[in-house]
Each structure stands twice: as structure tokens, then as C-alpha cells.
């Protein structure tokens, strides 16, 4: 659905994108994570046909945003990281205006707008001035605006920024619902917890390049060298287990607290299973063996730390 190859963008002397490669598959919820200034918004502006690139190839729904911006705009709904509202328009009129400028036929506009208000749970606010809506409501109205021409692809730039916990939950539910409806969603955030649980794919962007991308589980699998393992043992076996594990090169940061033994495992599921089998064969009673999946935050830190170390 989206393909960026070796995309470059320069602002004066600063290279915002240094050969960015990104592939967003159709039907996915793709989380683009990265710190502030990583190039997320620049990449989104380029693929939304708002900003021209300095190099590389971009394809959105099969069209180049620079050569065929209108084709891209037919297929893409863009929600920037800010609210844009007109004075004196209520929620209904606001959506109706954007339906008109997106070319929705006049005869269909009313039905489209009412459906969208229902989808984002704002039917009861149809007559309310948009300036009087809460931040969460405005964000949902923005999402409805991005959907007004029924695009296949949604580009959401930091959609949960500044929202309270309840509004974030509502937004996540809404995104999940849109995914069920078959939309492809590219969503950026620097708050990693926002994307956890709703994304099927992710990409990590830092300093204008993508460090890693792919399906969530594949990404986790590729960067599981630092998974934490929590083990509960019989009291008398703790020291023996520590001796055994401490001798293994893939185990580090081991610590003991009562019956619990925690350590960091550099290895995959097979390595984990092998270690567990070794303990059992040594006669150690293992009550619990829990391998914690790496969170986005850990993955992100791991990726960016590797970069720092390389420098």
C-alpha cells in the first residue's frame, strides 16, 4: 500500500531523511515509532503529497505523490498532529465541508456525515461548535474528517498526543474498528505504549533512517536478545541454579530474591527451552519459568543503543 525506497529530504544543512526505506502492507496497522525529530512527520508529509522529496521513490496506492497527487489524495486520509478547525462551524458542518472539498456528491454528504459522526460516537455533538468539544472529541472528529471520502489508507500523525487515558482508549478502539473494516493504517508516535497492542506491523525510525520494520512478532523475534526471564524455584535449589546459569554465556544480570531468580537471556525460544531442560535434568525444582516478551520500549532502546554504540 505504501512503499518508500531510499527517500531523502533535506532542510537546509540538515538531512531529515537519509535514504528511508519503508513498506506498509495493505490491511496492516503499521506503527512508526521514533523519537522527536526522527523524521516521522517528514515521511508522512511526503507520502501524503504535501512535501516534495529530494530523492528516492515513493508509491502510495500505486501512485507517486509528486506526479499524481490527486490519485494519492483519493486513497489517503491524513490526520496531522494538530487540530485544524474553523470558527463558527459545528461538527456536522465541519464534516460536510470536508466532504464537499473531497468531492463527495452533495446527495450523499448528509448520510456520509451522519454515519461518520456515529462511528466516532459524536452524533450527540453534531450541532456543537467544534471549539467547544473536548480534546478527545476533537481528535475523533479529526479522524472522522480523514475518513470523509472513505479512503483505503489512513495516515495518522501522533493521534494520541495530549489525550487523557480515557480518550486514548477510545481512540485505540476506534483504530481497531477501522482495521476490522479493512483500512490500512499508518500511525506514528513517540509514546511507544500507545502503539503496543494495536499494531500488526511496526517500523523503528531514528535520525532519518528505518532501523527495523516488519510484523510485530518478527520484529520482537529479531530483537529478543535481551529478553528477561523470571524463574521461581524451590528454596534449596536457588544457589545451585545460579551456579549453573551463571556459567552460561547467554545469561547475564542474574539476581536472586528469595525463591526468585531473574536474569537476562540473550537468545531465542530454543535457547530458553534448552536452559530450562538443563535445570530440570540437574534435579532443580522449577515452579515457574516466565520469558517476558520485549516491549516496544525495550526494542526501541535496544535499536537506538546499538546505533549509539556503533558511533
Amino acid at each position: 500500500m505504501i512503499e518508500l525506497q531510499a527517500v531523502e529530504k533535506r532542510y537546509g544543512n540538515v538531512m531529515a531523511l537519509k535514504g528511508l526505506d519503508l513498506t506498509v502492507p495493505e490491511g496492516s496497522v503499521f506503527g512508526l515509532i521514533g523519537p522527536n525529530g526522527a523524521g516521522k512527520t517528514t515521511a508522512m508529509l511526503i507520502l501524503s503529497s504535501l512535501l516534495a522529496r529530494d530523492g528516492g521513490v515513493v508509491s502510495v496506492a500505486g501512485a507517486d505523490p509528486e506526479k499524481e497527487p490527486n490519485v494519492v489524495r483519493q486513497h489517503l486520509g491524513y490526520m496531522p498532529d494538530f487540530f485544524g478547525f474553523y470558527d463558527s462551524l459545528n461538527a456536522y458542518e465541519y464534516l460536510e465541508f470536508f466532504a464537499a472539498v473531497h468531492g463527495v456528491p452533495a446527495a450523499k454528504r448528509r448520510a456520509v456525515v451522519l454515519d461518520l459522526l456515529a462511528l466516532v460516537d459524536l452524533s450527540h455533538k453534531a450541532d456543537a461548535d467544534v471549539n467547544t468539544l473536548s480534546r478527545g472529541m476533537k481528535q475523533r472528529l479529526s479522524l472522522a474528517r480523514a475518513l470523509v471520502h472513505d479512503p483505503q489508507l489512513l495516515v495518522l500523525d501522533e493521534p494520541a498526543s495530549g489525550l487523557d487515558p480515557r480518550a486514548r482508549v477510545q481512540l485505540r478502539e476506534l483504530i481497531a474498528e477501522l482495521h476490522r473494516l479493512g483500512k490500512t493504517i499508518l500511525i506514528s508516535s513517540h509514546i511507544l505504549a500507545e502503539l503496543e497492542g494495536i499494531c500488526t506491523h511496526m517500523g523503528v525510525i531514528d535520525e532519518g533512517v528505518v532501523k527495523a520494520q516488519g510484523e510485530m512478532e518478527a520484529i520482537r523475534g529479531a530483537f529478543t536478545g535481551a529478553r528477561r526471564v523470571r524463574v521461581r524455584l524451590a528454596d534449596e535449589d536457588v544457589d545451585h541454579a545460579l551456579d549453573l546459569l551463571g556459567a552460561r554465556p547467554e545469561v547475564s544480570e542474574a539476581s536472586i530474591e528469595r525463591q526468585r531468580l531473574d536474569f537476562v537471556l540473550a537468545g531465542d525460544d530454543d535457547t530458553s527451552a534448552g536452559l530450562l531442560a538443563e535445570l530440570v535434568q540437574a534435579g532443580i525444582t522449577v515452579y515457574e519459568w516466565r520469558v517476558e516478551a520485549a516491549g516496544l520500549e525495550e526494542l526501541f532502546l535496544q535499536l537506538t543503543q546499538e546505533e549509539e554504540a556503533a558511533q
Binding site: L51, Q74, F85, D87, L89, V101
Partner: protein, 325 residues
């Protein structure tokens, strides 16, 4: 392109006329024009009585002409003062409200966005014009003014509004703050309306011996884009004669007469239409240049604004914040 269906125009009109500000402004405008019109009427009455002591019929025609010319000057000044304010916030306002990108990613073409902004401002201006139409039409009751005179004068007023509106849209598309846009639009407006007159004095000083006019037979370039001179030129004949002396147009009529190489008799004197028609012209009338220049400015301004609104852009210019940070 069906302009009547331009959604930007529809929304702007809805937004502009919703709330109390628009009716209050229109009311004040009508009252202001009416009051000034009345003052012009009083002045015309005194001038007619003191200068000629003519019979009612002639004095009535003179007064009609006097009021008509006074009202045209007033309307043109209204255009110079109001139109830049109507248009200069249009595009920079979208950027400040953070709706600019939202418009750019729609199916609207950049030209539709620009024209929607221009037509909405012009529709407001036309409303102001229609609101004072009864006051402007008063001279027809007195006589001395042909309907063609009225149409020619109003035509130049509307063309000037369209030109200043286009310049305002262009200034708005370039500006990084609403304050900058307003300042830029008014600067262009005042340059055309007033600085060109000062430039005329400069031309005289530089190119003439003493205060000879026109300077050594040269064209007076600086007055060609001036809206007041263009308007008078469009209404009176090429030799600057409205057939009456002591009317508001006289100051420009003298200029137009001298531009054609004739000595002025002094302010308050007029060749009269018969003599004016009999004399050969040295140059085409000023209004032809003014119209040509304005059409060119409108074209350049709208093309410039459209280019600024076109996406993808090579860069996205940040707005300048009001606190200067």
C-alpha cells in the same frame, strides 16, 4: 469550473456572515457612506449657489455631477482601505488555524482554493456596494450624470477591488503571520493609491524644467496605475473634461489635460465637452493603461498565490509566532 459550487466560497460566506460582526460592519458602512454623501450634498449645494447662482435646472445637474464624483472618490477610498483587510488574512488565516494542509490534501485544486478565497472577499465587497447603492444612485435624481458614467465609474471601482483583492490573496499566501500579511497588502494598496501620486511629483522634479507638465513631453508613468486617476479617466473624456468646473474630479482633470500636452487653465476651469472633442489627442487615455496594468497584476498575483498553495511543496514554511518566539 463551477464557481458557485466552490465549497471554500460557500464556507467562507457562511462563516463571514454568521455572527454579529458582519451586520454591525455593514450598518456602520452604510451610515458612514450616507453621512459623507450628505456632507458632499451640502458642499455641492453651497458650491453651486456661490459659484454660479444658476437656475434650478442647471444647478441640479451640477449638484448631481458633484455628488456623483464625490461618491466615486469615496467608494474608491473605501476599496483602498477595506479590500486589503478583507483578503489579506485569507490564506495565512488557514495556516494559523492549521487547516491549510487539510485543504491541500483534498480534491480541490490550488486555483480553486485561491479563487474561493477571492470570490468570498469580493462577495462581501459587492454586498457593501449594493448596500450603499441607493446613496450612490442619488446623483441620477439630480441629473447631470449619465448611466454610462455611473457604470464606467463603478466598473473601475470593482476592477480596482478585484486587483487589490488579488494582491491581498498573494500577500496572504506569502506571509508567515497575519500581521505581516495585512501590512504587506496595505503597503501595496497605499503604494498604488498614494505613493504613485508622490512619484508623479518625483517625475516632475527629475524630468522637467521647473514644474512644466508633462515633463518635457514624457509619459507620466507613475500615474498610470493610480486608481483615482484611472477612474476619473474612465468617466470623463480623454481630455479630462466633465463639462463642469469646480467638481471633485477637477484636480485630476487638469492632470489629464496637461498630459495630452495642453496648458491647464487652472483648477476650477474646464474645456467643456465640445472643445475637448475638437482637440487632437497625443496619447491614449489613462484608463486604458490602468485597466491593462490591473489585469496584469491580477494575473500575476493569482498565479503567484496559486503556486504558493500548490502541494507538494519543496518546503513547508513555519509561521512566525505572535510573541516572536
Amino acid at each position: 469550473m463551477n464557481l458557485s459550487l466552490n465549497p471554500v466560497l460557500a464556507r467562507e460566506v457562511r462563516e463571514r456572515f454568521r455572527g454579529r460582526r458582519a451586520p454591525i460592519f455593514v450598518t456602520l458602512w452604510v451610515l458612514g457612506v450616507g453621512l459623507i454623501g450628505y456632507l458632499v450634498y451640502i458642499i455641492a449645494q453651497y458650491t453651486a449657489r456661490d459659484a454660479f447662482g444658476l437656475g434650478q435646472a442647471v444647478a441640479g445637474g451640477y449638484m448631481g455631477r458633484f455628488i456623483y464624483e464625490g461618491m466615486l472618490f469615496l467608494l474608491m477610498t473605501g476599496v483602498v482601505m477595506i479590500v486589503p483587510g478583507l483578503t489579506s488574512l485569507s490564506i495565512v488565516g488557514e495556516r494559523e488555524r492549521q487547516t491549510f494542509h487539510l485543504l491541500q490534501v483534498t480534491q480541490l485544486s490550488p486555483l480553486q482554493i485561491v479563487l474561493g478565497k477571492l470570490w468570498s472577499s469580493m462577495s462581501y465587497f459587492v454586498l457593501l456596494l449594493v448596500a450603499v447603492a441607493p446613496v450612490v444612485a442619488v446623483p441620477l435624481l439630480f441629473g447631470g450624470v449619465r448611466i454610462t458614467d455611473l457604470l464606467a465609474g463603478l466598473g473601475m471601482v470593482i476592477l480596482t477591488a478585484l486587483m487589490l483583492g488579488s494582491v491581498g490573496i498573494w500577500a496572504s499566501s506569502r506571509a508567515r503571520s497575519s500581521r505581516g500579511a495585512v501590512a504587506s497588502a496595505y503597503t501595496w494598496s497605499f503604494v498604488l493609491a498614494f505613493i504613485t501620486l508622490a512619484a508623479m511629483a518625483g517625475e516632475l522634479l527629475i524630468f522637467s524644467d521647473g514644474l512644466a507638465f508633462p515633463p518635457n513631453g514624457r509619459e507620466i508613468v507613475s500615474i498610470l496605475p493610480n486608481p483615482y486617476v484611472g477612474m476619473v479617466s474612465a468617466v470623463v473624456d480623454p481630455l479630462g473634461s466633465d463639462g463642469l468646473s469646480g467638481t471633485p474630479f477637477d484636480i485630476v482633470e487638469v492632470l489629464l489635460l496637461q498630459r495630452q500636452g495642453f496648458e491647464a487653465f487652472g483648477f476650477g476651469m474646464d474645456l467643456g465637452p465640445d472643445m475637448a472633442r475638437a482637440l487632437p489627442l497625443r496619447r491614449p487615455p489613462v484608463w486604458m493603461f490602468t485597466v491593462g496594468i490591473y489585469v496584469l497584476i491580477i494575473f500575476v498575483a493569482l498565479v503567484g498565490a496559486t503556486r504558493r498553495v500548490t502541494a507538494p511543496a519543496s518546503r513547508i514554511r513555519p509561521l512566525r509566532r505572535a510573541n516572536g518566539s
